[in-house]
């Protein structure tokens, strides 16, 4: 799981052009949006596209379920690990 967590952190940094942010800077359990990393709704969409391309995941927008998966890198890694198609 820790490899996947680092992989997802790298994906976030690359997909969202996070300048001067390293894998070590991202707190695995901190919120990704608004607080924590401070990402916004456009980033959520961008991340959705990146997760689709990388893992074949399709996340439906604006559901409570999706919000939970996007709560932190750890939650995202758990979701990817359970649902990935490639």
């Amino acid at each position: 799981m820790s490899d996947l967590i680092d992989e997802i952190k790298t994906l976030i940094i690359e997909a969202l052009n996070l300048e001067d942010v390293t894998v070590a800077d991202i707190d695995t359990d901190a919120p990704l949006f608004v607080e924590g990393l401070g990402l916004d709704s456009i980033d959520a969409l961008e991340l959705g596209v990146a997760l689709h391309k990388r893992y074949g995941l399709t996340l439906s927008a604006e559901t409570e379920e999706t919000r939970q998966y996007f709560a932190s890198v750890r939650r995202l890694a758990e979701y990817v690990s359970a649902h990935r198609n490639h």
Partner: protein, 206 residues
Amino acid sequence: MMPPLLRRRAYPLGRAALEVLYAPALAYADQPVVFCSRHAEIDRSLVIQQALAAEGPVSPQEFSMAVHNAIPGLFMIAKKSRAPVVALASENQLALSGILEALAQIADGAPSVILVFCDGPLPTLFSPFIKNEASCFAFALEMTAGKDYCLGYDEAGTFTETPSALSPGSALPLLRFVLDETRNALTLTEMADWQLLRLAPEVGHA
């Protein structure tokens, strides 16, 4: 300095424009902004079209910035300013278009207007269609009401200065003119009917 979370959304050309907007000398104070660029971040549209052609889903981040007013919009968000923004595009009358817009806003009561000009080379895909390539530049001017310059129109096109100094697609001649106090006129159109004239200082003017 622009917060990194906003800055990451800009391409190099947008960053150049933001750099001049953030220049200490400009000391931006909520003035209206007139953003003038032939194509702005045109390479972004190409990235989107190529993604559409190749794989389907396009980047929401790219799409959200693929409008002509994206860069001044980013600046206004960072500055939390609600001042008006106008984004203009023009091939070879960029300087004139920007000056006319700023003049109109001043005539309408704005005490000061910030003009931003920027452009860069087109992506190489477009090279067969390019006549006059722009180099990458960005500069900002503040316009206030005063007696240093005026805009001149001569329908007959009898202005003496030839339009050879015109560089289509680029507003750089405007910057050179403003900086070169030995010149008294800048031709703004190929017809040579519009000129920006530098007025002589008034005698006794403080």
